[in-house]
Symmetry: C2
DNA sequence: GGACTTTAGCAACGCTGTTGCGTTAGTTGT
DNA sequence: ACAACTAACGCAACAGCGTTGCTAAAGTCC
């Protein structure tokens, strides 16, 4: 029965509005979504039933019956995200609104095995769920998201061949973690998780965007047409290995003149940012994006320099910049972006607007 | 009532199969789409009613009742596509299968006005519909598609500022043409129309792809996640104006080292193709595509050289090329690609798999 | 010719959003 | 005070989608 898709779709539509706006009411939701007021009533009733939204008083207009106002209950659902790097595991507990409520970092052994990661992950998750001081423990945990370095296969949750980690070849991480934790697990590339963090928090206006990450490499998380773009083999976003200088300096990937190689050799942050700016303009020319989000530990160390330099490049180097509105911002969650984004991927899979094909 | 979306969605799903495969039958359609056989029966009944498919005998298996076989009726629906360049108007009459049944080219006056184009278009459309020899004239014309050089706004069908055409500033071309022709009109960028031609003819397996066009400039039409990617301002695909050589030769766009500038200065076709190959590899690194289609009059003049050179670049320059399967082909419709693709955009809007958001 | 296998179709059903209309909770005017 | 008006709300009947359960049809095999 595919009627369930319609229900979930409209429910997610209204919930997205509730997340994005301070409050919602029947009339405005009906206008924005195109649903009839009666249909919105039914959707709101279901969302109230699930505890996702709650009444928030009434709005008195000049005349007529006051409208009932509702708002999101951020604490009604939770998710935990994990950011796996070569040396550490960072966890973030996130509520339905995408706010980070707690986070923790633990070291990982050098050249750690899948089993070692799972142990740390399991311990970290239980620690986050039983906070030492806070009284009310989260009830509805939607699942756990894991953001990793590639390459991997997002559809099956398999790590193909994690770069510079010996024990990671064709590891079905999602299945292993689901079994170990007893929770739904979503495995994805770090950059895709990161861009999901921005998308989940900004809502429907965030349709075409890239999150540029500089952190032991240069990558990009792509959000195109309102959903994550992973490519045919979950390998999209290898933005640092695009050539910007034919016959330029050699890169670790074997080619010459890659953006990453030129960027890393620039010397000072301003020069590096200018190189990145060229890459960002290339991306804009190719994809016509509306939002550029800058992230990654190495970048955020000189966040302001990068933001100003990239914004200047966008303003001056993109032809017809007058009507090609582009917004350049720093990642709102800073160094928590990947871990929190991984959590939000779980929320997005369960409470986001679904795709009819089920992807 | 949004139930209509479900109906159209499933109908389009089955029709896509009918287009892509030689024949369809209830059982296999049910398997592929996930619908129940009973639901497929209802969908097939509707498609028969509309004349889009027709019975094509039965398939006798080793045992049991033979299965009823159906196939597409290509001539049941038609569309006309127009390719507008600075000097000529090329038209193509296309059937539901995406086969070009007739085409024509007429010259356009230098620096033509919108009204001059509409006159030529109107005359050309009526000429194509009343063929001198063929007896049966097409009945069901779904509409007319127009593929143009940008920049334009696809959502409203407005030409913002056609490059090097003086009379084309903020022209609501779709509205004007709809009024003049009395038919639905779809206006889009030439490269997007071109990639739609490939997508319509190849079906569901064509999910992440780029059509690279070399024809008075270098551009790319993007097909991502199963739909056209136009970007936030219908300006995606300005692939020729991505920098591949910092401080390289000056480009007409004002920057230096653009792919197009380097490509045009390469000298012989093989060297030019090698430059294009670097750009294609950049695109693959960024977007992880599965299909690269090469098109455009200037490229197809040396089609084989380009195809071999680009394929070689993809095989040798993409890291981990072993599992990143990429197919490099020449445009199946040759120089008709843009005009025919514009026609298929109309078919796709009416008979393609719809988007719940209505985009 | 009967048993078996596979496909097809009829009819009742559950669930979605829609439609029509009456109810409720306010403000405004007398 | 009380009626008139306004705007939001909700109940109930409804149309149309895919689903389910079952029966009929058209073949092959023994």
């Amino acid at each position: 029965m595919h009627l369930a898709f319609l229900r979930d779709y409209h429910e997610a539509l209204v919930l997205t509005l509730a997340r994005t706006r301070p409050t919602i009411e029947r009339g405005t939701v009906a206008e924005v979504t195109g649903l009839t007021p009666q249909a919105v009533s039914k959707v709101i009733a279901r969302l109230l039933e699930e505890g996702l939204i709650a009444p928030a008083g009434v709005r008195r207009a000049a005349m007529g019956k006051p409208a009932a106002v509702y708002q999101l209950v951020p604490g009604s659902r939770w998710a935990i995200g994990a950011h796996v790097t070569r040396r550490a595991l960072r966890l973030a507990l996130t509520d339905l609104a995408g706010t980070v409520r707690a986070s923790a970092t633990t070291a990982l052994p050098p050249d750690f095995t899948p089993d070692q990661l799972l142990s740390e992950l399991s311990a970290g998750v239980t620690a986050l769920l039983a906070p030492p001081d806070s009284g009310g423990s989260p009830r509805h945990l939607a699942g756990v998201g894991i953001g990793m370095i590639g390459p991997l296969d997002q559809a099956t949750g398999t790590v193909r061949d994690a770069h510079r980690l010996r024990h990671w070849h064709d590891i079905p991480l999602a299945d292993l973690a689901t079994e170990r934790l007893g929770l739904p697990v979503h495995v994805d590339k770090d950059v895709t998780a990161a861009v999901t963090a921005e998308a989940w928090r900004r809502g429907a206006g965030f349709r075409d965007a890239a999150l540029i990450m500089v952190e032991s490499g240069v990558g990009a998380g792509l959000w195109l047409g309102g959903t994550a773009h992973r490519g045919a083999h979950t390998n999209a976003g290898e933005f640092g290995h695009t050539v910007v200088q034919l016959d330029g300096p050699p890169c670790v990937c074997g080619r010459r003149g890659c953006l990453e190689a030129v960027h890393d050799r620039a010397g000072d942050p301003a020069a590096a940012a200018a190189v990145l700016g060229v890459g960002v303009v290339n991306l804009l020319q190719t994809l016509d994006l509306e939002h550029i989000v800058l992230a990654g530990a190495d970048l955020l160390e000189h966040g302001d320099v990068y933001r100003r330099t990239v914004e200047h490049a966008v303003r001056t180097q993109v032809p017809r910049a007058d009507w090609l509105s582009v917004e350049v911002t720093l990642a709102g969650l800073g160094t928590d972006t990947i871990a929190a984004g991984a959590a939000m991927q779980v929320l997005n899979a369960r409470y986001g607007v679904p795709d009819p094909a089920g992807r």
